[in-house]
């Protein structure tokens, strides 16, 4: 055998060329190309809204590109449906796990492809083959376990087992570790290595640099629906990728740091115990302060702000707002006292998507317009227009249906609905999730302006930069308890990361 010093590049299994996809009002992808080699891991990186999900939708047959060519093994192909893409060996493991909670593991693995015998489901074969698949992904639990009893990590592994049962040659993992524990992630990485060694190619979408550096053979970066760079593992440094992803200095996103000092406590949580937690939490917020809540997904931050907002009243403990007691039983109570929440899931909890911008903005306040016996549409539209201008909401008019707007614009509508009232304490739960880069910067600027105007803000965010760039103080939560409260100038990424992950 001759020894070859140049690395052997395995043959291309998939190439996408000039992929363009438009949605109403946005170009989600513009002339994007992607190359995937046999048995390699390609990491796809990019901010929220950079076009990663759209690209993967197209690859998995869930959406058709407006332009562009997809070639499998060098042959142009049209992936006209999910079923067909799957038949061609392309399988997507969703970020939101999509198991049927009422079925057992085997039933989920073979969902839609149940082995049959005499027209009946052949359960014995199903369980036997499921067992083998679970062994391959290193999951040592019964195939008869009901899916809803599994942990997020176990579900992820079942999803992967399902993908393996389809003889997938290309496996797409969409932020697979976002809800996994450390050991579960390790297990996943081992499985990915195994997949590679069996010649299966993996497209790995992730925000986490460490994972990418560890797993990926090559990295491609998307920004605003365009390719901004591809590189192999050796040249993929953190700085390089981050600068590609955001295309500008990180600092420019955030308003300049401010020096905040106040000793007027506006809101005080005294040993509040949120439903489903053991430990009570206590903290103070000063008037006009931005208090950042950092933590991993599931650390109990959303539950905490929802408790403050009156969605699920606490088991014990109490809160003070200003000089008086504050114990809301419903959001209505909280809103009356000037505490407003922009929820994490804005489509589900924040907006009536079928209603216009104006009607959404007026919704919490329209009941207090005068006169009470007649809806004042003209006035309502005036109020909305003021917020549209103030927040630079990109909508053709106040009468536009909210569901037609982009994620960032929708988020601004949610914000506008509260700013049209008199906020005292704003609870912002992941205010920039799914928001494009431009709108993000604007939202940050708004948050700061509000704080400067004396409105208190509790900012829940899973993005480290956001916490560090915006907060005056940082609260770190882990396992539904507060594990540290730091002033901004005493906290670093490392401190937050170690505190929120645990020792």
């Amino acid at each position: 055998m001759e020894t070859d010093t140049t690395p052997i590049i395995p043959p291309l299994i998939l190439s996408m060329r000039g992929i363009t996809k438009r949605y109403p009002g946005v170009v989600a992808l513009a002339d994007v190309s992607l190359d995937l080699h046999h048995g390699q891991v390609l990491a796809v990186m990019g901010e929220n809204g950079a076009g990663k999900s759209t690209l993967m939708k197209i690859l998995s047959g869930a959406a058709a590109p407006d332009q562009g060519v997809i070639a499998l093994d060098g042959k142009p192909t049209v992936l006209h449906s999910i079923t067909y893409a799957r038949k061609r060996g392309i399988a997507l493991v969703h970020q939101e796990l999509m198991l049927a909670g009422n079925l057992d593991i085997a039933g989920n693995i073979f969902l839609g492809a149940e082995p049959r015998r005499w027209g009946f489901i052949d359960r014995r074969t199903m369980h036997r083959e499921s067992r083998e698949l679970l062994d391959r992904v290193g999951l040592q639990i019964s195939t008869r376990r009901t899916a809803k009893l599994l942990t997020a990590g176990q579900m992820q592994l079942v999803e992967i087992a399902r993908v393996l049962s389809h003889d997938a040659r290309i496996v797409i993992l969409d932020e697979p570790t976002s809800s996994l524990s450390h050991s579960e992630s390790e297990q996943l990485f081992r499985i990915i290595e195994q997949l590679k060694s069996r010649g299966i190619s993996v497209i790995y979408i992730s925000h986490r640099m460490e994972e990418v550096q560890r797993l990926a053979d090559s990295v491609m970066v998307l920004r605003d629906g365009r390719n901004v760079g591809s590189m192999d593992r050796a040249s993929a440094t953190r700085e390089k990728i981050v600068s590609m992803m955001v295309g500008r200095e990180l600092n420019n996103w955030f308003p300049p740091p401010r020096r905040f000092s106040s000793d007027k406590v506006i809101f005080q949580s005294q040993d509040i115990r949120v439903v489903g937690t053991k430990k009570p939490v206590s903290f103070d917020v000063m008037e006009g302060e931005i208090l950042g809540f950092a933590g991993l997904v599931g650390a109990g931050r959303t539950e905490l702000v929802e408790t403050i907002f009156g969605i699920t009243p606490p088991i014990s403990g109490h809160a003070r707002l200003g000089e008086s007691q504050f114990c809301p039983a419903t959001p209505r109570d909280a809103i009356r006292r000037g505490i407003y929440l922009t929820p994490e899931d804005r489509k589900r909890n924040g907006l009536v998507l079928g209603m216009s911008v104006a009607k959404n903005i007026s919704l919490p306040d329209v009941g207090s317009y005068r006169p009470r016996w007649l809806l004042r549409r003209r006035f309502e539209e005036k109020v909305a227009t003021r917020q549209i201008e103030r927040l630079n909401i990109k909508t053709p008019s106040a009468r536009q249906i909210v569901g037609m707007l982009s994620g960032g614009t929708q988020q601004k509508v949610v914000l506008g609905k509260w700013l049209a009232m008199r906020p005292k304490l704003l609870l912002l739960d992941e205010p920039t999730r799914g928001v494009d880069v431009g709108a993000k910067a604007e939202i940050y600027r708004q948050i700061r302006e509000l704080a400067d105007a004396g409105i208190t803000i509790i900012l829940v965010s899973s993005e480290m930069e956001e916490i560090l760039g915006m907060s005056d103080r940082v609260v770190i939560m882990r396992d539904r308890a507060i594990v540290g409260i730091f002033p901004r100038d005493k906290v670093t990424q490392e401190i937050i990361a170690t505190k929120m992950i645990g020792e």
Binding site: V26, L374, L375
Partner: protein
């Protein structure tokens, strides 16, 4: 509004067609009947549509129509089985009971957290059940009481012996005006739409979701009670099968008129049009004539029997939603195309 416009055109076309086949269709006696029918069903449909707009459903209104009639007959009828009390007592008790039923069902839906379908499906049975028990499954006639004048009299006689605008139709006009005001011009109406559009978002926006929903069920039961009074007056007796299936006619009228069963969508104007469609077809089936000559030169007239009614009504409901869906899809395709043209 597109759906309403399309259905309005369809109603006009059907009317023109019926008039062409039988000139008596637009004659005064028939119009009086059609308008009265529209009025009685329309009152029901307006109440039902408020519930549907919140994302719920009320299957009990037909049974409430029955029970109100039975209560009035039992309490106030001078004939056998009646208790001979004054009419106003009978009507007040019947309306009171209807309101209580609405309150009870609304309570089960909003406070106990049961599904509207189940609660009102139960209502559909037990409410009629009570009516049957009260009258022992028999029929009570209103006999010589003046009650029948409620449905058969009205204003604007113009030389006919029947009023052009019957009381049920006038009550319907009042219900329409009130409905337009409540649904489209008040905060309460806005809340109904918001709750139907996204219940969670409405709750997170501080809306009194449960109170508003409860009110919708009470209003629906109240309109059913009012309709029940008119129906009883119109047929001049109260029996165990009165109002059978009316909840479905009311829902169909609402849906034909563009009220979405998913909630959050609909207009009173649409409900008027949907109701008109239902009743015009209902009436048209008996009015429709087709004259033709057979090969031998004899004149024949083709009639549709009333047994056609269910088939044609069902077909119209399906056609209405199919056309609506198609026009939605076309609009969306057009929008996407124009967007694509703009962005490229």
């Amino acid at each position: 509004m597109r759906r309403e416009l399309g259905m309005a055109v369809a109603v006009v076309v059907i009317c023109a067609f019926l008039f062409y086949s039988n000139h008596h269709f637009l004659g005064v006696p028939n119009m009086i009947d059609v308008l009265r029918d529209i009025g009685m069903l329309g009152i029901l449909a307006i109440g039902s549509s408020l519930v549907i707009i919140t994302g719920g459903i009320d299957l009990s209104v037909g049974a409430i129509v029955c029970l109100t009639g039975v209560l009035i007959a039992k309490i106030s009828s001078p004939s056998t089985g009646g208790l001979h009390y004054p009419l106003w007592i009978g009507i007040s008790v019947a309306m009171g009971v209807a309101l209580l039923i609405g309150l009870f069902q609304g309570f089960l839906v909003t406070r106990v957290g049961l599904q509207p379908f189940i609660v009102t499906l139960g209502g559909l049975m037990w409410i009629r059940g009570i009516a049957k028990v009260i009258i022992h499954g028999r029929t009570i006639s209103f006999g010589g009481s003046g009650f029948s004048s409620l449905a058969n009299h009205g204003v604007l006689y113009l030389g006919h012996h029947e009023a052009i605008l019957s009381f049920p139709f006038l009550a319907f006009i009042a219900a329409v005006l009130l409905g337009i005001y409540v649904l489209h011009m008040t905060v309460f109406g806005r809340y109904l739409f918001a709750i139907g559009g996204n219940r969670d978002a409405a709750y997170y926006s501080g809306l009194p979701v449960r109170r508003v929903e409860l009110s919708a069920y009470v209003i629906s039961a109240a309109t059913a009670g009012i309709a029940g009074i008119f129906y009883a007056s119109f047929i001049q007796n109260a029996g165990p099968n009165v109002g059978h299936g009316y909840e479905l006619y009311a829902i169909a009228a609402a849906v034909i008129g563009g009220v979405s069963l998913r909630g959050g969508e609909g207009t009173i104007v649409g409900v008027i049009i949907g109701t008109s469609m239902m009743e015009v077809i209902n009436n048209g089936i008996t009015m429709f004539h087709w004259h033709y000559r057979s090969a031998t030169g004899h004149r024949h007239t083709f009639h549709l029997g009333t047994h056609w009614q269910d088939f044609i009504t069902g077909a119209v409901i399906l056609l209405a939603v199919i056309f609506d869906q198609i026009s939605h899809m076309l609009a969306r395709r057009k929008r996407l195309k124009s967007q694509a043209a703009k962005t490229s």
